[in-house]
């Protein structure tokens, strides 16, 4: 356990939960107040008080509208995506016994993108399918394909062939990314292509309340489901056979949790595009902070992921004045060096 972890664990439970909420709330308020037009945090709080509790404070209705309909929805969805992707990463890393597993590397994000593009551009499903449904279908299909390929290559999900599954994931990602590009080049007009490219790299601009209505319950349910399986995830420490010997119904747990990760990822990607590095870096950072036991790791990863993505979203809006960068660019720019640091620090402690 690290020093920070020891310190965090000395805090009694309620105050830890309180601290968690406070950090997340602070990030959300910052996410709302920082942007092209700066809105003071006090105004943000007043606007929230008006909308949530009918406080009736005198405010510029313009500001209030921006805060409530644009900034808040955006920050909430960013937080949900961050939490969802980070927890998916934790779960995949635990079940596949591979520190490199994350929804992005496992091809789930690539599959979701292909599904989304197939529905929106290629017209797959003839209008009966929504973008989210397409993304979810693509995510599940990609994961199934990757798992099959890994199995055929001699790997087993959660078992000894941990290398195969990552290699299969890389192959799957390449395949689905190629399919996505193929569909775009073949069927999209120039405007569509530009729009979809922006979406693929992660874009929170179009987020509205109906997205929040999907993202919040899905993220909460996904994180709660994974947290409820914390002990089972711990039992995978020495592999899936050892987990089975400890009384974990391995196949069921794998199916439920990998399914949940695919669902979480698919829903998030369908809203904001495929965002890399969150599912990889955040679990490792959270482990440095609170240790490897999942009862603490899952909430910590969810919180860190949420704060990370809200912060990345702020950066994406302020780094280049007058322009919004794709959020995937920010997560990669911050995530890659952070991951390098974690790798090096992890090495030192051995």
């Amino acid at each position: 356990m690290t020093e920070a972890a020891a310190r965090a664990s000395r805090l009694p439970r309620p105050s830890r939960a309180l601290l968690t909420c406070a950090v997340l709330a602070a990030a959300l308020v910052a996410g709302i107040s920082i942007g092209e037009t700066r809105i003071p945090p006090l105004t943000v709080l007043q606007a929230l008080a008006n909308r949530l509790f009918g406080a009736g404070l005198p405010l510029d209705p313009m500001d209030e509208g921006i805060i409530w309909n644009y900034r808040l929805t955006r920050a909430l969805v960013a937080a949900c995506c961050g939490a969802g992707l980070a927890v998916s990463g934790v779960v995949l890393q635990a079940l596949l016994r591979n520190p490199l597993a994350d929804p992005y590397i496992m091809g789930i994000s690539a599959g979701a993108s292909t599904g989304a593009v197939a529905v929106t551009i290629a017209g797959f499903g003839a209008g009966a399918l929504s973008l989210s449904m397409g993304a979810f279908g693509g995510a599940v299909l990609a994961f199934a394909l990757v798992a099959l390929l890994a199995r055929a290559a001699g790997g087993s999900v959660g078992g000894r062939g941990a290398v195969q599954i990552v290699l299969a994931g890389i192959a799957g990602s390449q395949l689905f990314n190629a399919l996505t590009s193929f569909i775009i080049t073949k069927s999209a007009n120039a405007d569509q292509a530009r729009g979809i490219m922006f979406w693929l790299l992660g874009n929170l601009s179009g987020v509205r309340w109906h997205d929040v209505a999907l993202a919040v319950p899905v993220a909460l349910a996904g994180v709660a489901l994974c947290a409820a399986h914390a002990r089972a995830l711990d039992a995978f420490t020495f592999g899936s056979d050892s987990a089975a010997a400890l009384g974990v119904p391995v196949r069921r747990v794998q199916a439920v949790l990998i399914g949940a990760s695919a669902l979480l990822t698919a829903v998030m990607v369908s809203m904001v595009g495929s965002i890399g590095f969150v599912g990889l870096v955040i679990p490792h950072a959270a482990r440095l902070l609170v240790g490897v036991r999942h009862a603490r790791l899952i909430p910590a990863a969810a919180l860190s992921g949420a704060v990370f993505l809200v912060t990345a979203d702020i950066l994406s809006r302020v780094i280049v004045p007058g322009q919004v960068l794709p959020i995937g660019v920010i997560t990669a720019l911050v995530g890659a060096p952070a991951f390098a640091l974690i790798l090096i620090r992890g090495q030192d402690r051995r």
């Binding site: 089972a232 711990d234 420490t237 089975a244 010997a245 036991r293």
Partner: protein, 254 residues
């Protein structure tokens, strides 16, 4: 607790790894499982632990087919230690032993001081009490093996399936682990390579090429003929003049 196998067999692809193994492990006994490399010892232990599905036959625990029991209930009764198991997670020795409590914990039955006491006791039993706070990656091979055994003890199962538990252990710890296993009021099946350790078991089962060749008290089973046929060595049981204990002398066939 009694554990029985009935005409047990396991086939993978076209290879028959085990066939027609029928044996009863008696309550409270220590059964040694011996046989050359690849004879099927680990596979038999996995089948007995319910980790592999038999291709033929079945395993019974207290007269109930293992396949009909939920995993959790099996784990409350049977603990299994793999021949090898490692992790790159940054866990401590105590964390690893705490995993042994998994089958007994649930939302209604959270971690309690009783679990702490069991974990502490198990670490003490294998002589790892002082190293409980050490990181897994800093432990030596033998220390890791002892932690695995402590985890199985912490599981508080009545059947212990140990796959070469003396692997990596120094002489002192080999003897202390084996005598611990014999002393505990548990039913144990222990895969072994050291035939002198097998001599200390209540009964031994001899596997060769996936078949059960012999089963019985070690002094009756470990005849020079059997050991020549199975292990391709010359071996005799001698008697230690100091205490009359049997000792195996083994040398290559010329």
């Amino acid at each position: 607790m009694s554990l029985e196998t009935h005409a047990l067999g396991w086939t993978t692809g076209r290879t028959v790894v085990l066939q027609d193994i029928s044996l009863t492990v008696r309550p409270g006994e220590t059964l040694g499982l011996i046989g050359p490399n690849g004879s099927g010892k680990s596979t038999l232990l996995r089948l007995m632990a319910g980790l592999l599905r038999p291709s033929t036959g079945h395993v019974e625990l207290e007269g109930r087919p293992l396949a009909a029991l939920p995993r959790r209930e099996i784990a409350q009764r049977i603990a299994w230690v793999a021949q090898q198991a490692d992790t790159s997670d940054r866990i401590t020795a105590r964390d690893a032993v705490e995993l042994g409590r998994t089958p007994w914990l649930s939302a209604n039955d959270p971690w309690s001081p009783a679990d702490d006491a069991i974990v502490k006791g198990a670490l003490g039993d294998v002589g790892m009490g002082d190293l409980a706070a050490r990181q897994w990656c800093t432990l030596s091979g033998g220390e890791r093996q002892r932690v695995h055994i402590a985890r199985a003890l912490a599981q508080r199962a009545s059947v212990l399936l140990l796959d070469e538990p003396t692997n990596h252990l120094d002489v002192h710890h080999q003897l202390s682990i084996l005598s611990l296993v014999r002393r505990l009021p548990l039913t144990s099946v222990v895969a072994l390579h050291d035939l002198n350790h097998a001599l200390g078991c209540d009964r031994v089962a001899v596997l060769k090429a996936g078949r059960l060749l012999a089963l019985g008290p070690p002094r009756e089973i470990l005849t020079p003929e059997l050991m020549r046929g199975v292990f391709d060595v010359c071996a005799h049981i001698l008697t230690d003049p100091a205490d009359g204990a049997p000792v195996l002398r083994i040398h290559p066939i010329h």
